[in-house]
Every structure is written in C-alpha cells, then in structure tokens.
C-alpha cells in the first residue's frame, strides 16, 4: 500500500441546473518521501485535487487513503484535524500574517501541532537565520515564500502541499525555492506535492502526474530527477 492512494476521485460542482465535473475518475498513488509534481494547464482540475488532498474540500466520489486512513468521508472537524497535524501548506502568495515577524509566523503554525519542529531552526534551515525578526513587508518575495515553507515544515507534516510556489516569483528566486523544496524533501523525507502549470519544474520530480480536463493524462516516474541547478527556466 502506497503512502497516498487516490482512487477514482471525482468532484462535481452543482451550479444550479448545470453540473460541472471538475475532476473525474482520478486515481494515483504516491509513496512516502516522494517529490511529486501535479502538472496541468489552468482549469485542468489540479487545484481541485489540491483542495481535496489538502483537506479543504471533500470529493463527490472516490477514496483518498493517506497513510492508511480514508479522508474522503471526513467531516469538517476531522478535516481540520487532518490539516492541522498532517498537512503543511505552501501558498502561491505566501499568505503570511503581515504584523507577525518571520519567526512569529512560523510559531503561529507551530503552536497548534503535536510535535513541531523548532521555529528558529526551521527558519535557519531555509536560510533565513538572519531574518528572524523581520516583518513580511520587509522581506523579498522569495524570502516570504521561504518563511511560508518554514511555516509548513515546522508543523512536521506528513505531506507538504505546495500550490504554485513559484507562481509569484521571478525565475531565479523560483529556482531557489524549488531547490529548497527538493532539498527539504530529500533531507527530511517529507512527502512533497507541488502543483504547478510549469512543466520545467516537473523535471526535478520523482513522479509527474499530468492532469488535463479533469482527468489524469499520464503518470510518469522520473528515474533520475534533475537537480534544480540543471533545469532551465
């Protein structure tokens, strides 16, 4: 049994008389510690997959088994718990709390976990040891995203979910972030799922799941993921 087992996942949005199938019959599996990229153009349904994986939404049908537990039928309380203890989330727009310092932003997530990592160490590990007391507005985009990653990591999650982590960044900074994610994944053995429309990022993944029109187009295992330095933006 894989660490993440998604089977025949469908999500249908009922908009009055019309029903829109966001995703249909999506199945895949992810092993523990794997770095996976879910790739697809806008409107392909990758955000829906992300929402369901992240415990922010429930599927219409199908199952998602995470580490042996089926979360597809979770109620909102159970989902909150799932998000709290199992998921680390990295947002496209960082979503830091503006009036908390980098350290405090990390601590904010930290305090609700059972077994958190030390906030300071985590920030040091993402290379922001000298930016602890800075407020988000005083940080560059890349630095903010690193705080965001640190915040996700500090929770010591089972899964690190990244939603277009480089979407709001220039290529150089984007590369640095991707490298950080890759390194972290390898170092900490945290299962990492990156959702993006950027095919280049897919090169560094252990597995690439391509989504198109709400269905899985392909699942490719990448035997030799490229180091970030080698990919070309």
């Amino acid at each position: 049994m894989a660490f993440i087992e998604v089977k025949k996942l469908s999500k249908i949005y009922q908009m009055g008389e019309v029903s829109i199938k966001a995703i249909e019959n999506v199945s895949f599996s992810i092993a523990e510690g794997e770095l996976v990229v879910i790739l697809g153009p806008s409107g392909a349904g990758k955000t829906t997959i992300l929402n369901i994986l992240g415990g922010m939404d429930s599927p219409t049908s199908g199952t998602i088994i995470i580490d042996g537990t089926d979360i597809s039928k979770f109620n909102s309380k159970e989902l909150t718990k799932y998000r709290r203890y199992d998921i680390g989330f990295v947002f496209q727009f960082y979503n830091l709390v503006g009036n908390l310092t980098a350290l405090e932003n990390v601590s904010l997530a930290n305090q609700i976990c059972k077994n958190p990592r030390d906030s300071k160490e985590t920030l040091v590990s993402v290379g922001l040891g000298d930016r602890l007391e800075h407020f988000p507005a005083q940080l560059s985009g890349g630095e903010q995203q690193r705080v965001s990653i640190a915040r996700a990591l500090a929770k010591n999650p089972k899964i690190l979910l990244c939603d277009e982590p480089t979407g709001a960044l220039d290529s150089k900074t984007g590369k640095m972030i991707i490298k950080l994610l890759q390194d972290t994944c390898h170092k900490t053995k945290t299962t990492t799922i990156i959702i993006t429309h950027n095919a280049i990022i897919a090169q560094i993944a252990d597995k690439v799941i391509k989504v198109k029109n709400g269905t899985i187009e392909s699942i490719e295992k990448n035997a030799n993921p490229k180091p970030v330095e080698e990919i070309d933006w």
Partner: protein, 1003 residues
Amino acid sequence: MLIFKNSLIKIKKQLGRFISLIFIVALGAAFFAGVRETSSDMIKTLDEYYDETNLLDFRIISTMGLTDDDLNALKNLDNSYLVEENYSYETVIAGNATKIYGITDNINNITLISGNMPQNENECVVLEGSYNIGDTITIEDENYNSYLKNQTYKVVGTVRSSMYIYTNLGISTVSDGKLDNVIYILKDNFNIEYYTEIYLIAKDSQSMTAYEENYEEQISYLRNELEELAPIQETKRYEQIKTEAMEKIYDAREELDKTKAENETKFADAKRELDSAQQEINNGYAEINAGFAELENNRISIEQEFATQEAALNNALNAINSNISALGIPTTSISDSLNALNTQVTSINNLITTLDPTSEEYAYYNNILTNLNTLITNLNEINNGFTSLNAGKSTWNNTYNATINTLNENKATLDESQITLNSSLEEYNQNYASFQNEINNGLQEIADAEAEIANLEKPEWYLFDREDNSGYTTFLESATKIDSIAAVFPIFFIAVAFLMCLNTMSRMIEEERTEIGIFTSLGISKFKIILSYVIYVLTATVIGIVIGLSIGYTVIPRVLYNVYTNAFIIPSLKTYANIPVCITIIEVCILTMSLVTIYAVAKNFKKAPATLLRPLSPKSGHKVLLEKINFIWKRISFSWKVTIRNLFRYKKRIIMTLIGISGCTALLLTGFGIKDSISKILDLQFKEIQTYDSMLILNTEQNNENEEINTFLKENNISNPLYTNMQILSFKTDNKTIDCYALAFANTDITKYFNLTDKNNNSLNLTNDGAIVTEKIADLLDVSIGDTITLHDSNNEIYIVKIAGISKNYINNYIYMSKDYYELAFQEITYNTIITNISDKGDQLLNSNYFSNIQYTEDNITMLQDIIDSMNNIVFLIIGFSSFLAITVLYNLTTINISERLREIATLKVLGFNDKEISMYVYRETIILTIFGIIIGLLFGIALNYFVLMVAETDEIIFIKDINYLSYIYTLIIMIFFTIVVQIITSFILKKVNMIDSLKSVE
C-alpha cells in the same frame, strides 16, 4: 445605467454592510429628529391649545376693581384685539384654597371634558381631578354674599383650562398660600359691583407662536399702551371712587338732616299730646278734689243745720217734756208720751162727756183737755220735726255716698289714664333716645367715611402676562429641557453614525481597489466611479433617513411627551414634520455620507491605475511598545502577543471601536444614571432631610401653642407637635418668579422633623440672626451666608430675609426660620400648621374640628413617584436606542474586522486552526477593545450623566449626580451581552469564510 447596476450589485454583495449602514443612519436620524422635534412639537401643540382657548396675553387687576370705563378704554386701544371682563373670588373650602371664576365667553375659554357647562346659577364646573360631577360645593365664608349670590353649587361638569396646565396651580391669597382648586360659575352669580379682572388678547398675537420672541415682540405693543393707560385709568377710578363716596356722604348727611327734622317735629307733637293728656288728667284730679272738698263743706253745714234743728227740737221737746212730766207722764220717748197723753185725752174726753159742759169741772177738765191737746199738737209737731230731720239726714247721707262713689270712680279712671300716659311717655323717651343715638351714629359714620376718603389711596393696576402663569413658564422650561438633552444625544448618534459610515466606506473601497483600478484603466470617468459608490451609500442613507424620520417624528415625541402629561394637564401631542429640521437632517446626512464616500474613493485616484491593479502592499507590521518591556512581554502567551500586535496594527479601527463602544456605554450609563438620581432624591428628601410624616393644617390660626390641641394630640398618642407657620412666597431671578415655602417654627429645635445640613454635612440650627435657605435658592440668586434676599407674598408685600445658613435640599425650595426671626423679618407669628409623625388616624383628627386638612408625606412621595416612573420612558428610550446603536456598531466593526482579514483567517483555517481558535483569534481583540471601550465609556458616562442632569434640573429640583453601582453593573451586563450576541453572529460569519479564498491572488 451600468453605474446603477454596479451599485445594485454592490448592495447585493454587501447586504449585511448595507443594512448596517441603513441602521446607523436610521438611528442617528430618528434620535436627532425625534428629540429635536419633541420640544418644537410640544410648543406648537401648546400654542395651538392656547390659540384655541384664547389664552389671555394680559390680565389686569386693580386694587379697587375695574369698571366699564376701564373696559371701554381697553377696548379702544389700538393693539387690543379681544377684551373681556371677569370676576374671581378666593376662599377656603374644606381646607382647600379655592378660586372661583366667572365663565368667560371670549378669553381664557375652558374646555369641557365631561358633563355639562353650568346652565343655572347654582351650578358650577371644576378643573378635572378635584371634585366629581354631582358633588355639592358649599362656600364656607359667612360673608359669601358680598361676592356671590349663591352659597352652594352643584358640580355639573369637569373642564380644562389653558390657564391651569400645570398640576401645581400656583399661589393663593388664602389658606396656606397654595391654590388647590379652581371652580367656574356663571358670571351673573357674582355679587361684586366692579370687575375683579380684565383679560386682553393683543392684536395678531395669536398668529405668533407662544414662547417665541416674535410673540413677545407682538404683545409688547399692547404692553406699552397698557402701561400708558394704567395711570390714566387709575386716576379716573380714584376720582370716581372719591366722587361716589363724597356723593354718598352728602346724600347721607342730607338724609340724616331730613330725618332729624322730620322726627324731631314728630317727637315734639307727641310730647305735646302727652303733656296735654297729663294736663287733662291733672284737671280731672283737681275737679275730683274740688268735689270732695265741696261735699265736705256741704256735709259740715248740713250736719250743723241738722244739729241746730235737732237742738231746737230737743229744746222744744224738753220744754214740752217738763209740761208733760208735770202731768206726771213719763217722757221716756215721744211716742210713749203721745200715747200717754192720748190716753189722758181719751179718758178726759170720756169724763167730760159726763160732766156738764158748764161745770167747772167741765171747764177745768176742758181746760186741761185744751192743754193736753196743745201738748199733743206740740209734741206731734216736734215728732214731725224729728221725722223730717231724720228724713233729711237720710237723704243727705244717700246724696253724700252717691257723690263719694262718683268721685272715686272718676279718680280710678284718671289713675288708669295716668298709667297709660306714663307708659306712653316711657315709650316716647326710649324712642327719642334711640333716635338721638341713630342720629349720632349717622354722624359718626359720615365722619368715618369722610376720614376714609381723606385717607383714600390711589388705586393701582397690576399687569400680568402669560409669564406670570407658572404653568405657562414651567412648560417652556420642560420643553427647553428636552431641547438641551436633545442637543447632546443626537450629536452623539450622528457622530457615531458618521464614523461608522466612514469606516465602512473606506473598507469597502479598499476591498474594491482592483475594481476601481480596472474601471479607471478602462477609461471610465472618475465621476462615474465615484457615483457608483455614492449611489450605494445614498441608497442606504435615504432608506435610513426615511425609516429614521418616520420613527423619529412619530414615536419619540410621544414617548417624551407622555412624561409631561403627568405633571401637566394638556391636550395630546400633535406631531408636525418640521420641514427645516427634516431638510437639515437630510442635507447633513447626504452631504456627510457623500463626502465621506468621495473622500475614500478619491484617495485612490491619486494613484496610477496600474498601482491600483497591483495588490496593496501589506502594511509593514511593527513591534509595539509593550515588547520593549521584556519581562512583561515574555510572560504573555503567544496568542495574546499576536492579539496585541494586531490591535495596534489598525489604529483607525481601534479608535472607531473605542469611540463606538464607549459612546454606547456612556449613553447606557447615562440612561440608568438619570433614573438613579431621580429616584434617589425622593429618598434623600423625605427620608433624610424632611423626616416628618404629616402636616396638620389648623382650622384656625393660633397665636401660641394651644393647650387644648396639645392635650387632644396627646390623647391620640401624638407627641412632639411642632407648631409651624407655613406660607408660600416667591422670589425673582433675572427673568423668572420662583415659589418657595417659608416655614417658621415655634421651637428652635426642629431636628425631630428636619435634618438640615450644609454642603459639608455639618448640621445647621435655627438662629435668630437669619433664615436657613435651601441650596437652590442660594444658587439661583447667587447669594451666600450673610447676604439678604427679597421675598414677595401674593399681595406683593416685600420681605427682606438675611441668610444664616444654606442647607442641602433636593425637591422644592424652602426657607426655615425661628419664630423670633420670623417676627423680626415678617410680622407677629400665627401658626397654621402642626408638623407631626403620624401616618394614619386622619379621620379621628379631622373629626376633631381642630384641623382642616392633613398632608401626608407619603402622598407626596407617591405623587412624585408617578412622575418619576414616567421619566423611565425617557430612560428606556435612551437605553433602547443606545442598545441598538451598540449592536449595530459592534456588528459593523466586527464584520469590517473580518473582511479586512479574510485572507488571514482563511489561511489560518488552511493551517488547521479549528473554529474556536479562529473565533478566539478575532475575539481576543474585540474583548480587549470592549473592555477598554467600556471603561472609557463608564468614565465618559459619568461626565455625560452629570451634564445631562445638570441641564435637566429645574428651579425646584436638584439632582444627585452619583450613579448607583448597580447601574454600572447593568451597563456592563448589557454591553457584555451585546458583545456576546455580536460575537455569536460573527462566529457564523467566520464559519462561512471559505478556505479557498486563501489561494486567490491578493486583490
């Protein structure tokens, strides 16, 4: 078109915000319009009432009454519109000072409430609330008929009068000085030869609104004329009275002289008659006496004659008897002698016959016989003489007796006549004496009248206007009071509403920054963009104004007016939509709301559209001051640290929230505070300052303590009666006449019934150096210990009183004096009241005839309590509106707080914060702000309460400005309750926050 659609969409999208905007505007407008309108509605309602009932503008009374000439002179004034004469008379009925008026036709018309108007001379109507229909009123004054034709009147109806709109009817010249009842009868029932008063209405005064300055100006023309006319008519009246009096005197004197002349002749005639009668009687007596004398004379001469005759007879007899005796015949009596002689004759005759006639013997015997016969003849003659003498005697005796009888009878008749005459004489003497007396009295009266005329004072006119009617002025004061409260509260509401709107709009525009950017970059004119927001705001504003004004104009004035209908007898309120105020409110609301919106939108136009399209760069967070105090900061839990940091991040919101919450708290506290202080003064006044239970009004005023009454009281277990002189006096401030009670006591120690203390709670004692006056008097007249004040009684008599102490007091104004000081400053004391501590036994005491009335403190308290209870309406109004405001403000602020931090909250949700943690994340700020807001609000509330109560104080009342601790608690509970309610509402909003929002790009 597009703009309107856009606005419509905005409304739909932000319905909660839109509704809260409506609410805020509605509350502000309602309160502002309502409270502002109340006083002008009140004044207009009363003005209409005054005009309907033709309330007088002026009332003239004169010390010597008024005449038709006065009436005509007044009618001829250029500025008089209506003039009417009337009569009035004040008297005490069943211990109540009662004023009786004639029913007027044109001025001061009374309004029938129930029953009928009087049709007959023995019927009357009364002001509602005193007598019942069917009651009989009997005038107790013995001299009633110098004023009224009838003594008893039947109550046939109850009425209202615009002259008496205040339950406190004013002062009276009789009884304790407080007018208790007013009665109206037909004018014809008065027996007074002059008019006691004349009422006037000035030209065009009714087209002015009462109380307003142009009314004062309008009546001033007539006032000037009246002031000019007064001395003329006074002189006329004086001359008239003097002439009339002089004429009367002359007539009286003439009459007297005539009477004197007439009567004196009559008396003289009578006297003469009496004298001649006496003369007659005297003559009678003289005649009788002469009769008696004559009779006596006759008797003497006759008796003498009888004696002479008898003597002659006896002599003859004796002579014969000696002859007879010589014959040997006894002479014991004539008849015996005769018999013996006759026997001899017979025997001689017999002898003779036998004898020769020629014989000697014969001759002898014949000789003897002849002798004998001569003897017999002589004896017979003597005997006849005796017989006729005796017959004469007897006749005489009869005559004599008859004459005596006649004379005596005549005398008796005369005696009777004398007696009759004597009584006539006596009668005459009496009559004459009384006639003399009468004449003297008449002369004295004339002399007195002359003296009086010599001392006759010039009559004086007193001119009264509406301001001298305590009901009229008190009402204005009450209405003004509402106005001054009105000035405070609505401004508060409007300010809060304004702030809330500003807050809401800036938030909304911040949220829609990108939209504005898009529109601008699409080349839509700034004007149109602004317009779309202005339309949104104005839609809310207009709906709010409509709701607000309709509530404000209808509900609030009625609620407030009801308070006054307890103390005033007035028609029900007519609400007028005051167009200028309406327009002002609409203008102010629309203008401020639009300006706020334009300002908030226009702020964004300073930036290039491109900047607008980019997300607003987040405000840099920074550390707060508290963090520098490490040892405190260290101890604060992380979540509280976050809260504190957040708090200081949105300074504008903090200020708004603090103002909103503290404002509502202050309003609530003031509401409760007003209630507290009003109910507190009752206790203080009647349980701490004036502790007596009752006042017994004496039937007859006493110069000293009356032992009889004291004994009676003792029998009824009433101890320590305090003999008191109570009267109502007035004093004048710049523009008002204010009544006060003056009490003078027989004892200097009155602590049993009065605890008089100064500001510092030192007790004050009565002295003979001056009077103790209550605080308000000192305040109003701006005087202090040692100063003097001038007091007037209802006859305009002036008294100067020196202040020896100023005592704490809450209700009414009092002047306390010792007996000695009273006698120094006023006059000799008479006691009309006894102060005691009884709360029942009224019937027993009233049956005793010592007391005409008993006033129980308890009744006073009950009456005041009624008024206070109705004040609760105001309090509930304030509390209700403040509560609405509080909820709206809290809701508005919290929703804005959430909307500003929607992304943050969504993020926290994604990070796995549960609902409770997220709620707390927001609530912690609200709780801190609410706590601070409440604290500030309570402090502010104390000040506001103080201000409002100070404004609300009347000339008779001082409010306690302390607030009960319970009121703080109530305010706290209400505010906490509202906070909780709003938090519950927001927790639903928070639950609805969609996590997916956190993934969206920053807008």
